[in-house]
Amino acid sequence: MNAFQREMVELLPRLRRFARVLARTPADADDLVQLTVERALARTQQWTVGTRLDSWMFRIMKNAWIDETRARRRRDLVFAPEEAGEHVGDEGAARVERRLEAVEVERELARLPEDQRMAVALVLIEGLSYREAADVLEVPMGTLTSRLVRGRNQVLARLAEAGRPV
């Protein structure tokens, strides 16, 4: 394994996390990760040494996901049903409440339009700066911030409606 591959292996958990936000099922998410890794390896030459590998790979994943969903729509396939909360593990009773909140937040994020969901995931879940997230999504900063505002206020409003304000 070379250094590039080692870094990619290190990134796999985060790539899987971002994919979970994009795809509806864990299996679809891992397929997306695999596609991303394969594309990244085929384009190793395009990565500029000294820049962040995570941002670069998130961008590849974003584009792979857009290609994939377009292809799916063309094939007129429907998404698998939502399985939010499927990966709830065996947890103590004390953590159930927190897990419940997490599941609801996860569900509300899943209901957001794709562009808002990606912006929110990159900044809130992946911890990217606005500049980095705008680069990954290939949009101007103003577009990113307006997606962040709309997406987050939408989630908060729906959680409040459901009687579960965070």
Binding site: V37, V105, G127, L156
Partner: protein, 228 residues
């Protein structure tokens, strides 16, 4: 008037020091704004928590194989920048100071909200239990002293989170009385002298301390006695 974009930029740690101060000043006189900030902080943490489990799951072998199955050896320098803690810690500290985060636990953070207020946990709790004033580490101790109820109190600094605070022994736990952001000094340098504390922590300490701070011998004895 603080815009929604500015509220989120504050929560996400995107504002400059001066801009952040403007938001914090507005928060003190506008409870609705303070609550909005708190709600967005909680959403940020809940969203992170919702997907945190993925990170500790074993990575499927097929993905590892895909990542390893690339072109032959080439030189690539590591460009991964490890972030120093969530960018919203400063905002969290401001909300704690205003009391708008009461009843809320910060997942994986150094404090948890319990029946009696905020309590130290994890690395912070361990450091409060075991570290002496001069010890190195991610959590550093400042001054140890006794309060009016004869309980032991200690000031601490967490450089990674740029937070400092004061905790007192209460029912076998460390109750966090004060938590404040460590602001960069002029020139943007976070590395203040070892025991330097934000004014809010110093003020709390002055108010609570009865008698003199513990010296090294007294501190060692207090630790040996489990801070009782």
């Amino acid at each position: 008037m603080i815009s929604k974009e500015t509220v989120l930029a504050y929560v996400d740690g995107e504002l400059s020091h001066e801009e952040a101060l403007t938001v914090e000043a507005a928060m003190t006189s506008d409870p609705a704004l303070a609550e909005e900030v708190a709600r967005h902080l909680q959403l940020r943490d809940a969203a992170g928590g919702a997907f945190a489990a993925v990170l500790t799951e074993p990575v499927p072998e097929r993905l590892l194989a895909a990542a390893r199955g690339g072109p032959s050896e080439r030189v690539a320098r590591s460009a991964l920048v490890r972030r120093f803690g969530p960018p919203h810690w400063a905002a969290m500290a401001a909300c704690l100071a205003l009391g708008v985060l009461a009843g809320y636990a910060i997942p994986s953070g150094p404090v948890v909200s319990g029946a009696g207020g905020l309590q130290a946990r994890g690395a912070l709790a361990r450091a409060l239990d075991g570290k002496l004033a001069a010890d190195e580490g991610p959590v550093r101790m400042g001054v140890s002293f006794r309060d009016a109820g004869r309980a032991y109190c200690r000031t601490f600094r967490m450089d990674r989170e740029a937070l400092a605070g004061l905790a007192c022994r209460e029912d076998g736990r460390w109750a966090v009385r004060t938590l404040a952001e460590v602001r960069p000094q002029a020139g943007g340098d976070y590395q203040m002298a070892g025991s330097a504390m934000p004014p809010a922590v110093l003020a709390a300490m002055d108010q609570m301390m009865v008698g003199d701070p513990l010296d090294r011998t007294e501190e060692t004895a207090a630790r040996a006695g489990g801070w009782k």
